[in-house]
Subunit: 213 residues, 4 copies
Amino acid sequence: MNILITGFDPFGGESVNPSWLAAERLDGSRIDGHTLVAGRLPTEFGRALETLRALVERHNPCLVIAVGQAGGRDRISLERVAINIDDARIPDNAGRQPIDAPIDPDGEAAYFSGLPIKAMLHALQQAGIPAEVSNSAGTFVCNHVFYGLMTLCRSRPGLRGGFIHIPYLPGQAVAHPGKASMALDDIVRALTLCVQVALQTGQDLKIAAGTEC
Amino acid sequence: MNILITGFDPFGGESVNPSWLAAERLDGSRIDGHTLVAGRLPTEFGRALETLRALVERHNPCLVIAVGQAGGRDRISLERVAINIDDARIPDNAGRQPIDAPIDPDGEAAYFSGLPIKAMLHALQQAGIPAEVSNSAGTFVCNHVFYGLMTLCRSRPGLRGGFIHIPYLPGQAVAHPGKASMALDDIVRALTLCVQVALQTGQDLKIAAGTEC
Amino acid sequence: MNILITGFDPFGGESVNPSWLAAERLDGSRIDGHTLVAGRLPTEFGRALETLRALVERHNPCLVIAVGQAGGRDRISLERVAINIDDARIPDNAGRQPIDAPIDPDGEAAYFSGLPIKAMLHALQQAGIPAEVSNSAGTFVCNHVFYGLMTLCRSRPGLRGGFIHIPYLPGQAVAHPGKASMALDDIVRALTLCVQVALQTGQDLKIAAGTEC
Amino acid sequence: MNILITGFDPFGGESVNPSWLAAERLDGSRIDGHTLVAGRLPTEFGRALETLRALVERHNPCLVIAVGQAGGRDRISLERVAINIDDARIPDNAGRQPIDAPIDPDGEAAYFSGLPIKAMLHALQQAGIPAEVSNSAGTFVCNHVFYGLMTLCRSRPGLRGGFIHIPYLPGQAVAHPGKASMALDDIVRALTLCVQVALQTGQDLKIAAGTEC
């Protein structure tokens, strides 16, 4: 069986996107009898989701982990929930900037991740990798893809999926005083662990990882 | 017509909760022909919502704005979405600490705020009050009340509602190095403005206030 | 006897500088038998210090508190030490941008504040105003004035002085997402308290207010 | 000729100190004809400096770079200035907690680093490693050692020295939500570069790296 790991094109003035660099590094590797396939998504509303759907059609994965850059976050962010709205602070790579537009006019306000985010959190922390559960994937193309992926999972029995945000690479953080970063090796190790946990976990762990606000 | 403004009991080791101090200051004031009624909610899962429902029964408001303390945030946070999950990092005031429990097993994953948060954002910023749209109200009692309030609004035609997070007061921030605060006068002025905007706004403004992550 | 409180002109794209607005509010007020005189300094290397020296000549104060805006800080910052270097990240209001130039080629590397910063910290916190001791006043015009002031104090027996940084006003923070602010009323109250403490304190308190880094 | 790189014992509840782990990794390596010697300092006021002086006596280095952990900083911090004060927020590893005590009663208020911190900043950023000039090394044992080292350099012609703060390791940041980290490989690479730049640089670069506050 295939596992699809997607990353994005660079956006917002960056020359690289760590999500694609990490996905690319995992392409072709094997985990617990599964093959990882890397997919590259344009950072564009609409077209990112079309590309994702085509990748799912072509590779028929049992698991999709979409990965995105969260510039400024200091640890691996396991996203809990995708919301049904596009609200772009900056234009996407095609110059479009939707404001308060639903991603799916017939969809629910949100869908929860299909990944065992608490078990992943536990495994990452045990491995010495800083991680957190996040309650917002933003309102840009990352959340757009996350919401679309969860819609796709609902229509394809046997498909599980979710979204993981990752920090800037050190080389990117050079230009962003005050912002954290994470080495690509650690990001790749984190994503590998997350795939393993997803494959091995039925019922997610019940460990507190909430926030007051 | 009545407008209900709720605040919470202190929690997490604090001796005051600015949300209740602000609501109390607004109690009995009149805005555009409406009377503000302040309600105090216990910071307890379950009982907070029962108290909210009883207040709505008693006062039959056309508008409910629930307010909560967001310790560490630096501006008025207009919450966009409530999610259907309780995940308590710390126990509530009754000692309960639910983990990954749905608030309403029959509810959707989330509900959007019924407030014109973009028009409110615009009005607050014009008035010189720092404000933001927030995409997560957390997973503690604030989000719990927000989700329950939006459920209530769906069952009571004519009732609109939403949630606003506010910073620590200066006196609280004394004990929290590195955390921002806002003067109570400014918080009260902000909430007054928000009520006025809610009363005067039909269709919300379309202004960008999203985040990439 | 006179007490001199100085503030700066706006800089860095701001239309106001809270340090001058606060100083202006204190002008002419009387504290413990002393009269407060407000002085406005240009945000310019060199000329700011010339203006300060002229104000000291004219008003012959026993105490000088120079105040400056610290955009992004979340509390009253009692500066501990001025260092003998100008290193401007941005040009000053006259377009000058010195890099690694000594303020006084014959001066020591640094001078400590002449204010009882620990007693001030204690008084501010008791009054519910967030405050901290800061170990760096930066390397721009604030530190430049602070260093020049301490040089002046060494040459004028009976003159005490020091520097206090204050946060953005709320109206400024509107344009700075993620940055804290403080109400002007609280800033004025804080500076008044600091003057009182300076007048009443001989030996400073010994309370820990350091940092590991 | 020898180059001395020092790191500290763990403190503040940590089980490792990245400064020692990095120094240890560099022990015995050769850079531009020099041999690196790693020295481990206790995180104790007084005894840390005695240990440093003994190491300098024994190895007679031409260059000393003292390294310390700056928990929460997000990049390599090239320290500009050491101040003549101990002000401990927490007790050191021997239980001592000096408050506002001079490190050297006969010393000046501060000494500037003897390292070419701007050339180092430039080299690190060119190599893709996030770095900054810092204007405060705190008031704990790191600053204590830095100040003592600069005093030592003044009495030993031919000895240059300075201080570099480094972030938490990823494994430490697991337990510190909201705090950044840096991989040990990147820290070691950064320190190696800093040594090379120090050996090759006579006059430091004039590039702006200051702060307004």
